[in-house]
Symmetry: C2
């Protein structure tokens, strides 16, 4: 049986309040008392019972992170960073996977399991703007992702439209005119696919290039296989293009593989740009030119914002919209003409 406050108090010959004071760094304690208590603590190997403390204080020292799936590289890298930042703040992270499924996301928001945490960082993927009311929860929450805007919670996100536009402009500046897109979602307006496609179109418009739907590859998911399949289909249709914009790196890498299999040289014949700046983008052959959407900043800001909300739970404040800065990471798969 683990030692309790009472055991320590008994050994040290003081009351539990005094022990509690020592543990919680209450300033006004006589040094000799403190010493006695500390001796008793180490003698017993006492550690405070966190569950009891939580019950009393209403805080757990844990936050939840809900995301689609850790086996998707983007989310794994995001989670790594969130956990890292949380640890620096002395908080642990409970990770939940939703599979990007709307029903599971909605369930999760009402899950009693969240009681084990003080708040939630929620990366939504299956929900849509219509579900915005489900975000009106009683616990502190920070929303990530591009599925829902102007919700009732703080929202940390990236400049999808601007970043996709910049990526497309990069290709145009490199001399490309027929820029295929991989990963579009039919009819989507909001969401990563919809927003990035909008940025793409803005860049075309600004350059006076007509939008050509025949070089847009639609996929439901954003796995590498989807990028590969979509590219195979474009090649099979025989449409012409001189660049590919993968709406994320994974798609771009899948597409790039198929191009190379088919004897198309990257970047010589076709330039390729991705989006996300995964670790992997640096090591593909050729290395992938991509957009760093500010993922580390997003993780850091999400944690800081959530902890701030938790600390000032009573303060009623309008939801904040926090936008990460992006940058183009120029590598081998696409580069400005010399």
């Amino acid at each position: 049986m683990a030692a309790t406050l009472h055991d320590v108090a008994r050994i040290a010959g003081v009351s539990i309040k005094t022990v509690s004071n020592v543990i919680n760094d209450y300033p006004h304690i006589r040094p000799s008392t403190r010493e006695k208590v500390e001796a008793a603590i180490s003698e017993l190997g006492y550690t405070p019972n966190l569950t009891a403390r939580n019950l009393r204080s209403g805080r757990t020292g844990a936050i939840a992170l809900a995301l689609p799936d850790l086996s998707l590289a983007y989310f794994a890298e995001l989670a790594a960073q969130v956990i890292h930042e949380a640890e620096a703040a002395g908080v642990v992270v409970l990770v939940e996977q939703t599979g990007g499924d709307r029903a599971r996301e909605l369930d999760l928001l009402r899950s009693p399991r969240l009681q084990l945490t003080d708040g939630l960082i929620f990366s939504a993927l299956g929900m849509s703007q219509d579900d915005v009311r489900a975000l009106d929860v009683s616990y502190p929450m920070v929303l990530l992702g591009e599925r829902i805007f102007d919700g009732p919670t703080d929202h940390v996100t990236m400049r999808n439209v601007e970043a996709a536009r910049a990526a497309t402009e990069f290709l145009i500046a490199s001399g490309c005119r027929r820029i295929a897109v991989i990963g579009a979602h039919e009819g989507e307006v909001i969401g990563s696919a919809g927003l990035r496609l909008r940025g793409y179109r803005q860049a075309l418009d600004a350059a006076g290039i007509d939008f050509d739907e025949s070089i847009v590859g639609y996929t439901t998911l954003w796995h590498r296989a989807n990028g590969a399949d979509s590219m195979r289909e474009l090649l099979a249709r025989g449409v012409e293009f001189d660049a590919v914009f993968g709406l994320n790196d994974t798609l771009a890498l899948g597409a790039m593989r198929v191009l190379q299999e088919s004897g198309v040289r990257v970047p010589h014949d076709v330039q390729v740009v991705g989006f996300d700046d995964l670790d992997e983008a640096e090591y593909s052959i050729p290395s992938l030119t991509t957009v760093d959407p500010g993922r580390d900043w997003i993780a850091k800001t999400a944690v800081a914002t959530l902890l701030d909300r938790i600390a000032r739970a009573d303060a009623i404040e309008a939801p904040r919209q926090l936008l990460a800065e992006f940058r183009i990471v120029e590598r081998e798969s696409a580069h400005r003409a010399d």
Copy 2:
């Protein structure tokens, strides 16, 4: 303020014990009583306070998963599977990153934060056999990894030696005689690198091929950059080889990239085999022949074993050693001669 058992009891006109009985599916309750209570529960939107329940029961319904870093694909895929299995068992997972650092691993084992969980799945990387006593902890734990054997806890691991031997034999059967290794650790006997190198040497011995240290690439870490650097170094030294065994997929992919950059064709000039069967191995160019070490089975078994230990915490039982089955996944980067 959230409703409590008392509130429900008051509304339903019963005692809190009765409400508790209903919530916990205690069988002997008069249907009319149950109905009243259920009505009150839904009227108030009552949910049991898990922290209070935990304090009382000593259980949290959470387990901890400690691993080096989620941004390493192997661990991300492992974590995804662990969380998936835990969820199926109604348990949540708290993820801790140690960076593979021995001191942080040792700290973690004594961390009070583990009190928020009922047990730990611990993937050790920095610790070594000398630290085996640190594993003698007071909470249920399942060890993963290849750093420590015959410890005081259950251990779920893979057949490193046999699997590496099989991978090497695969290359030999494909006609290779000069098989370079990437990712060895100087002087390591136990640990993934040491064990896999041992399997490699066993295969050479069995085939009557001399071990040649000049085609062994040493790296400290197992990131893609390490594989790339190590391969560059081998090429610079001008040593001859007709195959590469990457001690994990990430190393193999890094090495493969450098080979291709240097004009070496894979698998035509040099065959490449990895170890881990990451999702990525299926989509590289060429796709990577590798060893599936049974990662999904490991995740599933680790969760089941831990939950079993938690459920029967009193039962004293010898630590179990559980070994996953492996298989060679033949893809393009290395294949048997026709």
